[in-house]
Symmetry: C2
Subunit: 455 residues, 2 copies
């Protein structure tokens, strides 16, 4: 498709500049102070979709942040691909660790540094520019729908309702999502699964106020110490999770799948050097790729309590807090695990303190079959532009809405991610390689072409 | 001393208003942003001492915050009392828990609410107004020196040097300190000891940056989990501290002292109700008063790591931190325990992380003899104004400079505290009962009178 190549080559600088503009909007869904930025970002996505050639684009308000729906229907009888993505981003904190402003995108050494560059604005924008490429070169062979939400990073609390109420609008033959990573440009890969999530917050209350640690210390339980003991008890010496019932529903990967996984390239020294760690950690009996792919985990995402400022304060705090999340694998259920977590935490709380635990959000694990048309089209598209067949791998992250799409729309999902694990998703200095951005724009039209041909 | 009573009665409103003015200065020594407030507060103390009748008052700069030295010498041959106190205060955080501004003093139900109201500006100011009372009624029978520092809440890092270099200036027959509490107005008491302190900060580093908890969780050690395990390991199931050697130098109180301590009034239900807790916590084999008086402790003063803002962020943080302090009893040594703590924490750090631990500040425990002239004068003064003899008790807090005063100046210290344990020292809504403030001003002149008479 020489026309695509020529069009993209002639417009590549503009594509990039448009993305940078989108990255300047601080669309942090978790923080209420960014409500207006969220609306502005939804408007910007709408505008770009229309410019790219969408027939109609609407912004659907929700109880939270709005959803952008757009479509380009060339012929209702042709196959339809539903592109899902999100325009919201994770909070940028800790700000002091960013080398440039999180919403002040800069390109250094061929990498776009900005919050959302890879997750997911940059990857959403590949689809917008792929649409433009096909429209402007009159080569679109299928219908494309876009569902770009603003609450993925907070667990998609309102998307479920929208999908249920708009099944006809969203009717499609497959869902295509670019919100994940590939191994590298040299080793293309496709995620065949995402993990589920149960994200809770814990509040441990000891005394009804902060106390002088000299006057009361030793006689009144310290909520930080108690919380630490509770956290410590949740992994045993083999780094297994100790919560009774936690592993009950886990579908253990069979030897064949584990053998296949072991073939994915993994250089332990390179991995450790990149992270600056001396030793790997993890559940005994599993490799690193297995620990992040096929096993559930329990992570501390945040902890705070007492005096955390400059200098010293001799306080015995009244409260301590933690944010804790579990990643789930097939066949675990998010609601069930959340209940298990909350009950367990309350159960192990000693009588010196009172403990509250509540859900932030959850999502189900999802596996996609590698014999579906959508998977085959994605694999063929990547082989076309990368020159080698992608490896199927299990991703460690979560996209809460996957299970719901399949259930409500009755269609399969395919993940075509162009990010890298080292892109600092959810971390300071999030980046997206310019080359990966362009590679995505180059590959996506082939997906549509092959998917139409196979349908 | 009818003249004292009349003078104080005629000026009581002014005394209180002057204190409120002093409390408006946010003299937080721990935070560099308050450097100018510290200077302003030292100047205010100087001004008030001169107004009260001091012959000369000087502000001595140090490498940190300045020291206010003042004196009223009536006759070098007469006994001299050195009053020690501090004009600096603890940080006011968490601000959201204050019912009124920490530096906006208000009087509600006979209580002065403000940071420093009790610890220690209010108690220092009792001495200033006691001086004024004696000067204005021409009834001073001894010399009084004042050493009011600005770094007590950060461990008095520069006072030691000042004392060593100014032994002549500070020459006295005893040190009188009001920086502690009494049981209640109905049950006056005098602290006969303060605990020492070793305050450290711990930094646990895992990966060299924050990571996506889905992509890396389960394969890379989470610094919060590791820190929690380290903290949890430092108390055993009997709440004994597990650090090898920690108790080695503790002078175990004998049965007689423990029997005496048991006579101090203690109502467990009232204590628990005041704090809003269901169960007491502490080292097995000791009572609550023993746990806070004669036993060393290890407290978590602060912890932080990862995402602590609104909502959820699925991050595996690069670092986690804690502020940890030990309270020490005779015959423990602060330097030795600090080294023990730091070495222990580094030793128990697993190979997945690197751990830094460093000293914030320390101080030695101190015991004062109850057969000294100073103690006897204090007890008699309290008996005079309270109508009953004070009970000697061991305080749980720390005044880092006590041991140094005794060593460098060769004199004993007496603690005459007028605060209450329930005054929320170091906590939001710190208070000082107006009645206790006046009771201190009433009692202090008797101390000077009796001390002169006994000398």
């Amino acid at each position: 498709m020489q026309a695509w190549k020529e069009y993209q080559s002639a417009n590549k600088d503009r594509f990039l500049n448009e993305l940078l503009e989108l990255l300047r909007i601080p669309s942090v869904s978790a923080k209420s102070e960014h409500k207006q930025d969220m609306t502005a970002c939804a408007e910007a996505v709408k505008k770009r979709l229309l410019e790219a050639g969408a027939d109609k684009v609407d912004i659907y308000p929700t109880d939270g942040h709005p959803i952008v729906y757009g479509e380009k229907i060339i012929d209702p009888a042709k196959p339809t691909v539903l592109v899902y993505g999100h325009y919201d981003v994770q909070p940028a904190e800790p700000l002091e660790l960013w080398k440039s402003g999180p919403f002040d995108p800069v390109i250094i050494d061929g990498k776009i540094f900005a919050r959302g560059s890879c997750d997911d604005k940059g990857q959403v924008y590949m689809h917008v520019k792929a649409l433009e490429t096909m429209v402007k070169t009159n080569s679109l062979t299928n219908n494309i729908k876009f569902c770009i939400e603003g609450e993925e990073e907070v667990g998609s609390p309102n998307l479920g309702k929208f999908v249920k109420e708009n099944k006809n609008l969203l009717k499609a033959d497959c869902v295509l999502i670019s919100d994940s990573a590939m191994i590298s440009l040299d080793t293309p890969s496709i995620d065949i699964g995402v993990r589920g999530l149960s994200y809770i917050e814990v509040e441990v209350t000891g005394p009804n106020r902060d106390l002088h640690s000299g006057v009361y210390g030793g006689a009144v339980a310290n909520p930080i110490t108690i919380l630490a003991k509770m956290i410590a008890s949740m992994h045993d010496e083999n780094n297994h999770i100790t919560i009774p019932g936690f592993y009950d529903d886990v579908v253990v990967a069979n030897d064949e799948e584990r053998k296949l996984m072991a073939q994915a390239p993994f250089d332990e020294k390179e991995y450790k050097d990149d992270l600056g760690i001396k030793e790997l950690w993890g559940e005994k009996g599993f490799t690193t790729n297995e620990r992040t792919g096929i096993r559930p985990t329990l992570e501390l995402n945040g902890i705070w309590g007492g005096y955390t400022g400059e200098g010293a304060k001799t306080v015995l705090p009244g409260k301590a807090f933690a944010k804790i999340s579990a990643r789930l694998v097939p066949n675990q259920n998010s609601d069930k695990i959340t209940e298990l977590l909350i009950n367990h935490i309350k159960k192990i709380a000693p009588p010196y303190v009172t403990v509250k635990a509540s859900l932030h959000h959850g999502g189900e694990p999802y596996m996609t079959p590698i014999d579906s048309k959508a998977y085959k089209a994605a694999a063929k598209a990547m082989e076309t532009t990368f020159g080698k067949a992608p490896i199927p791998v299990r991703g460690g992250g979560s996209i809460p809405i996957c299970a719901l799409f399949e259930k409500e729309l009755g269609i399969k999902i395919v993940f075509m991610g162009f990010g890298l694990d080292s892109d600092n998703l959810h971390s300071p200095n999030e980046k997206f390689n310019v080359e990966n951005f362009y590679k995505g724009i180059e590959t996506i039209p082939y997906f549509h072409k092959y998917f139409s041909e196979m349908s």
